[in-house]
């Protein structure tokens, strides 16, 4: 079992674990650029590359939170730039539904964030990661769905 899923709430120096779903064509490339350009950003994210932000199902996000992640970032191409033309517009709609649902469940909105980052925006990518990490740090560890028998 991989290390990243170990519970870590007891640590004094608690560090949030954040999962980032990045579109292959833009945000993933943006993350890559940030790396190549040696732009510093918090090491709290674990990246999952997806073919398009439209691929992301709200259930993925819920499962991440259920499995012990403290935050989730979803990032895709800017409106008009999606390689599949409109995947990101649908993603935004799904995300809006998810937000409503999270509110209902009582999960703080700051834990789950959505942003547009292009392939050329290494700097913006670093900023987004920094913001998400800061927000989640402020919120503290996420309560898990299945914390009780």
């Amino acid at each position: 079992m991989s290390e990243h899923r170990k519970p870590n709430t007891e640590h004094r120096n608690w560090q949030p674990k954040i999962i980032a779903f990045l579109c292959n064509w833009c945000s993933y490339a943006g993350a890559d650029l940030a790396g190549v350009s040696r732009i510093q950003y918090p090491p709290n994210i674990r990246v999952i590359r997806v073919p398009c932000s439209g691929r992301i199902n709200p259930i993925f996000v819920l499962k991440c939170l259920q499995n012990g992640f403290d935050g989730v970032l979803v990032s895709g191409c800017y409106p008009g730039d999606c390689h599949y033309i409109s995947g990101n517009y649908y993603a935004r709609r799904k995300f809006a539904i998810l937000k409503t649902l999270l509110e209902f469940i009582g999960i703080e909105p700051g834990r789950v964030q959505f942003s547009w980052v292009s392939a050329g925006e290494g700097e913006k990518f670093a900023q987004v990661v920094k913001k998400v990490t800061d927000d989640v740090k402020k919120l503290g560890p996420a309560k898990r769905f299945v914390k009780r028998v």
Binding site: K99, F104, I105, G106, F145, K147
Partner: protein
């Protein structure tokens, strides 16, 4: 208002008036068959029947006291393998018509050869109440009809604000409120409906002002009641702990999904292997949380369903009726659905040519969810 001295009650009289209309339609070949609830021979329930001849229609009940199978489920089963040439007329409650329209948008019902006849609905009794004593249930429903909904109908029906279709997506609407003891209002809602009424030599009643007013009045009343019910419900279900509590007795039977008319997936994700994990995964999760309940992912199932189909939820109450543990599923779903539908200013079943929100988008919208 005193009931007429007769063995036929007001309810039965209205039902007969509707059946006469259908019989005439069959005779004049306006349609080839009628899909309608019929009392089962044992007398303790109702089933949908494709009735081809008038004698079967004698036993039909356009307004049964319960809703064991949702009408949209029935008609989509007829078309599971596509549409045909023969024309079907069907009489349904507004929540059934709305779900049928939703399924048509999702390609699971073809409306070309279907005549949708909606009907003013006083609500239905909880299935479990009715089954305890069908005879008594029948009598209780007479009362429901007379009082136009009372405390014995399902909670979701008591707060149903779409119990009529004054401007609906049906072809013909049957109004009953304010129609007098034995009469019905026959209203055409579409060109298709108009054509049928012409063939049947029925001129739509012009004097429906009193009906419209009454519908409006009750609609407003119900909207308020719905709001109040939701406010009462919220403290018990909103938030992770309360939600877990609410669904903690769920036995994962998935009845609520199976009976839901708008749960349209042929294979539910939550029944698939996608959510069956390796042994080690479960043990790890148990270790991580100090314990893991089985069957697993109960709450995830409900949240997944909310994320997936709350936009089309018609608040029909079928899920709640089918829940063996009496979890107020439809009231909870209604709460979420009202919010998600509001996001896109969407009302399921409102129009046939309005796509479901997940099949369309606007370039400029929802800026508030972007960071």
């Amino acid at each position: 208002m005193s009931a007429p001295k007769s063995t036929t009650t007001g309810l039965k009289k209205r039902e007969n008036a509707i059946l006469d209309l259908l019989k005439k339609g069959l005779e004049r070949k306006c349609f080839d068959t009628v899909l309608i609830p019929v009392k089962v021979p044992a007398g303790d329930s109702y089933v949908w029947v494709l009735a081809q001849d008038n004698s079967l229609l004698d036993d039909a009940s356009p307004l049964p006291p319960v809703m064991p199978v949702h009408g949209a489920k029935a008609i989509s089963s007829v078309m599971r393998r596509g549409k045909g040439r023969k024309r079907i007329a069907t009489v349904m409650r507004p929540c059934e018509i709305s779900a049928t329209i939703e399924l048509s948008k999702l390609g699971q019902v073809e409306l070309d050869n279907v005549f949708l006849i909606s009907i003013d609905c006083p609500g239905v009794l909880p299935l479990s109440d009715y089954l305890e004593n069908p005879k008594k249930g029948g009598d209780a429903f007479e009362k429901v009809f007379k009082q136009w909904g009372n405390g014995s109908v399902r909670p979701i029906c008591q707060v149903c604000h779409r119990f009529s279709m004054p401007t609906g997506a049906s072809d013909i609407h049957i109004g009953m409120l304010e129609a007098g003891e034995r009469d019905i209002f026959i209203i055409s809602n579409s060109p298709k409906g108009e054509a049928i009424l012409k063939e049947l030599d029925i001129s739509p009643k012009k004097e429906i002002g009193s009906w419209k007013d009454k519908v409006k009045e009750i609609t407003e009343e119900r909207k308020n009641k719905r709001k109040n019910l939701q406010e009462e419900l919220k403290p018990g279900v909103v938030g992770l702990d309360r939600l877990l509590d609410t669904f903690s007795k769920c036995i994962n039977c998935h009845n609520c999904m199976r009976v839901c008319p708008v749960c349209y997936c042929r294979q539910c994700y939550f029944d698939s292997d996608k959510l069956k994990h390796p042994y080690e995964d479960y043990l790890f999760r148990a270790e991580m949380s100090g314990g893991l309940r089985f069957l697993p992912d109960t709450l995830l199932f409900h949240l997944g369903r909310m994320a997936h189909m709350s936009l089309s939820c018609v608040s029909c109450g079928s899920c709640e009726d089918a829940c063996p543990l009496k979890i107020p599923v439809s009231q909870i779903f209604g709460l979420v659905a009202d919010e998600t539908q509001k996001l896109f200013d969407y009302i399921p079943g409102r129009k046939t040519d309005e796509p479901v929100p997940m099949a369309t988008y606007k370039e400029e919208e929802l800026k508030e969810v972007e960071d």
